[in-house]
Symmetry: C2
Subunit: 437 residues, 2 copies
């Protein structure tokens, strides 16, 4: 607890250059901590951006290698006024530890470090080979993760950066949507124009932009770009929250979107296109010379970011009138991920959860995207187990982020069990059961 | 010249509170200057905002009263990097005096002060009664002008805050469009939402906003709000710049807008609706809870701002889907102005221009709006003569604003002639002709 508080106290905000030294300090703290709990080799690995932290214990011949991935960088905290207690002065209130990064992802990554520590302090050894890989750039898209991975080998990747429904109900996430971020720019006349002198005679780039943005959906809520749904795999899901729950979680008055699917389906097995920002004009009455928008597209199997980006680019070109020029630029692109729910490591994780939480996990799809997971899977080519420890009300990315301590302790038990069960997967003899303890 | 430079050197930026003391200093400078050139009564009049400056010479019994209106406040200068010389260190380059406010409106108002000075210094009297009224809030919509006017009487209002085509070609502006500024806000769910977790299931307020904005025009370029053109007076104009000139002035590649009218007509006798700003979203991938836009509508005879605002509000309500709430708020509203081109004072102004510039003036409509002109006309109920002295390349409101000195000197001759001719209008004997001097 005191250790986790010390870790949360370091403001390792990766998106803000002013915190670069704090990010480095956090990496050094983790390297020292890993060494202290018994990892013989532990180092800070420099990248062109923020460093990674790596540690390994590889003295279990004949056992698989589990790569534990987590990230020690955190989201910005602004506005500070929204916080009930300072974000980097971790505070225990009831059974919750409050602070930026508490549940995303310092708490969950600490779960696995504490499980390793338990083994190393008692028996001096781990049941499997373990590589710990802690990213300092997850919140900015893990731009330097891929290059470091080429030097690694592992049999399974264990990531805890997802949610569970309640403290008593664990969940394995088996699918993530991909994410395609685009910037659409419309340029018109060479200069901003007086709206009185020229209003009505010159095509307003901001108006053209809204025309294009409005045309991306039809009235029913479908994406209207021809071909957009071409490769979307037909699927239905029977589990997941009800429409009423989704609407309530969103603090909305009602749902919206593609007809024929539940709200949960619309956020998981169906793609979505969001206008996330429009930038154009000023408080002065002028026709701006230029206007732009950011778009975020969430992709599902079997959509390819490049294919969708090309479709969108062609569409925007086609609907751009000859009075202006438009440009659609890709800022980032990550494909979707689906994990085989029947993989032996997934079964081991389910058993481990039963051991830690006393309940079998739900198997959930997430509408979100974790670039690191797709990068890890593509580069290492092995299964990814997404074992969640964050609660829906833990306020990841928001003010008053917290981590629920009962989950922390159940998580340590779960992780301990998973490492033991993973050893048996590799030996081909998964015999552990909930009654085996 | 040195006096005009001293006036331009005071940074009387009305829109920026940091310059409030400068605005007061500028008013005091003008009061003292008016006193110095022979106005016996000259005072700074406090308002809830920036002060007005008033001076009067009313010793011409049987002669009309000319109210000379000008404004001594100026537009902001940012970004400073765009200026070739500091905006408040007036600099003479060739025949142009550079500095903020040089042509809008310190130079043109000074034209009339110099004309009065010429009379007062030589004969000790003016040919007409003169009230000088200098506004310190024109660039922010003259919010306090109306209340001061109730104490005044005049027979004609002389305003120099418009343009002429070239230094050799003067112009009287006889029509201004009105201006209706609105703010459209769309509110959705209570909080910003993670675009992965909720994208596709909750109606994005920013998307609804672009839908509404896009629906305000049809494909041809007409305003699509039912009833919008209801009271637009049928009119055509034969004068004014060609389409090619308008496109070139705008630095655009081609024109746009309501079919069946020239570009000049579209900016003068036809109304226009511009999206001047969209505010919504952020660089983070989120579905914002709220988004808003500013709209500027330019109105023509016989449109009423209140009627048009009500139409727009009804339309926005009708097209707002039940997933969100929308609100359309009026920020400011000013009706259009048309002056009788055949009014005797307009004829006197035309003759005066012939005297000063050696050419009869063009009679032009402006697509812009001068709230003060509408307020003056409505409150005093007398003709307004808009005698322009600014050139198209004088960069009013932009960086490197300037005033062309040959126009300044021709303007003084023109103003001197106008005051003499105005005296004859009132006497019912306008006999001055270009050969009379």
């Amino acid at each position: 607890m005191r250790e986790l508080q010390a870790l949360i106290a370091v403001p390792s905000v990766s998106a803000q250059p002013a915190h670069a030294a704090d990010v480095r300090r956090c990496a050094a703290w983790l390297r020292d901590h890993l060494h202290g709990i018994g990892f013989p080799s532990s180092e800070v690995v420099a990248t062109p951006g923020h460093p990674l932290v790596m540690a390994a214990w590889c003295a279990a011949p004949g056992a698989p290698t589990v790569l534990i991935y987590g990230h020690y960088d955190v989201q910005p905290v602004e506005p500070l006024s929204a916080w009930r207690s300072p974000p980097f002065s971790p505070l225990l209130r009831g059974a919750d530890l409050f602070g930026r990064g508490a549940s995303d992802d310092k708490g969950p990554l600490f779960v696995h470090l504490k499980a390793c520590e338990a083994y190393l302090r008692t028996s001096g050894r781990l049941p499997v080979n373990v590589i710990v890989l802690l990213d300092g750039e997850e919140e900015i898209g893990s731009p330097n993760l891929g290059s470091i991975l080429s030097t690694l080998c592992a049999d399974v990747i264990l990531v805890s950066d997802t949610r569970i429904p309640t403290p008593d109900q664990p969940a394995l996430t088996y699918a993530l949507r991909g994410s395609l971020n685009l910037e659409l720019t419309v340029r018109g006349q060479g200069i901003d124009l007086h709206s009185g002198a020229f209003g009505g005679a010159i095509h307003n780039p901001l108006q053209v932009l809204t025309d294009i943005l409005a045309s991306l959906h039809d009235r029913a809520g479908r994406i209207a770009v021809p071909g957009f749904y071409d490769h979307v795999a037909p699927a239905r899901v029977s589990h997941g929250p009800t429409d009423a729950q989704v609407v309530q979680d969103a603090q909305a008055s009602r749902g919206w979107g593609e007809p024929g699917y539940s709200l949960y389906e619309r956020t998981t097995i169906r793609p979505a296109l969001m206008i996330t920002q429009v930038l154009g004009g000023s408080a002065r009455s002028a026709i701006p010379s230029c206007a732009s928008a950011r778009l975020n597209v969430r992709l599902v199997p079997d959509q390819h970011p490049e294919y969708v980006a090309a479709l969108l680019r062609r569409y925007v070109q086609r609907v751009t009138p000859p009075t202006v020029r438009s440009e659609l630029r890709v800022s980032s692109a990550i494909g979707p991920v689906v994990v085989d729910r029947h993989d032996p490591y997934m079964r081991a994780a389910a058993r481990a959860y039963e051991h830690g939480f006393g309940a079998p996990p739900h198997l959930l799809r997430s509408g979100g995207t974790i670039p690191a997971v797709r990068i890890l899977r593509d580069t290492l080519g092995v299964p990814v187990v997404m074992m969640g420890f964050a609660l829906p009300d833990d306020r990841m990315h928001a003010a008053n982020e917290k981590f629920h301590l009962p989950v922390f302790f159940r998580g340590i038990t779960t992780s301990t069990a998973f490492l033991a069960l993973a050893a048996q997967v590799y030996a081909g003899t998964p015999t552990w059961s909930t009654s085996a303890s």
